[in-house]
Symmetry: C2
């Protein structure tokens, strides 16, 4: 489950507002058995979490689509995927040290090693950032792998069947035009497989 | 919004169960201003939708992550993305013709042109499949593009800043080992850019 969580960039965070579900994409980070999401202190889900006691019920889901599964029958079409669903209560992080570690984890989740190579958040930025914690207690993973599962009586049909793998990769990094003179592409970016 | 929806393979569908949010990844298809999701008639969200009247409140979200945005400051790290959030009531599709069109759309959403090149669902399969409709009435899109937005006083810091684009592509199709003799790779798969 950690591996599936760590591979994603964006989770889909669900919460209930006025009795109706809301699902928003957001960055996240993991520290051990805790997930963190962040937002501006004025944002909707985080404000709600800050007000709620003992916490706002949330559902955080991360999904990777690995392949398209084409079966001879329309019915058996599917996708290969891996997903993790976390249920729990979201709590505002108020401890300054935990907040700093969570924000580092959020940055390192996007690019491992990056937090140490950027200007840390200052007091004003920390105050403007709300961080919410969700413990990995109620977690489930689901995945599908493998080929098409056609009915035996369909195997002779003249339709192509199989899997089209989906690939993720990185394009060439595009440097900010105003980089300070002599700023080289850091090794942790060169190491991203293209 | 149609373009963002049509480019995704999986949406994240949120609903409320016992007062708590649930967010599940699922395939979807679009026909004009209607989205469809499907599942086995015994599945949780669809059963709930079938029982509800005038419909189950859902939130359906589709997100594409386009790039990693590295700023000189940790605070301004971000991602480039496009997302669409649809709120509304989900209704069980009971009309046979609408159900068939919706299932075709679900298959064609995975691989355009595929529905016509597979064995259509039979009566038993149609009965085992629940299809739920969500109209595109309350829809919002959000996106971020462009480079890092650093503070003016951070521009001279020696940290690399810029964007790492994320690329999606297809691997070589893996044919089912039991294809009927003479079954060629269809043109709509050869046309997928790798």
């Amino acid at each position: 489950m950690h591996a599936i969580l760590d591979e994603g960039y964006v989770c889909h965070l669900g919460f209930v507002r006025d009795g109706a579900p809301v699902v928003l994409p957001t960055l996240y980070g993991r520290v051990g058995e805790r997930l963190y999401v962040h937002g501006s202190t004025g944002s909707r889900p985080l404000r709600a979490a800050g007000l709620a006691d003992p916490g706002l019920p949330v559902c955080l889901t991360v999904t990777h689509v690995d392949g398209l599964v084409l079966a001879r029958s329309a019915f058996h079409h599917s996708i290969n995927y891996r997903s993790v669903v976390v249920h729990g209560l979201a709590y505002d992080v108020t401890d300054a040290e935990e907040k700093r570690r969570a924000l580092d984890a959020l940055v390192d989740h996007v690019v491992p090693g990056r937090a140490a190579d950027s200007r840390p958040a200052n007091r004003k930025e920390l105050a403007a950032t709300a961080v919410v914690r969700l413990d990995l207690n109620e977690v489930s993973a689901k995945l599908r792998t493998g080929g098409a599962n056609d009915e035996p009586e369909d195997l002779d049909l003249p339709h192509w069947a199989g899997v089209v793998p989906l690939r993720k990769g990185y394009g060439a990094p595009v440097a900010d035009p105003g980089l300070a003179p002599g700023t080289a592409l850091p090794g942790y970016l060169g190491a991203l497989s293209c």
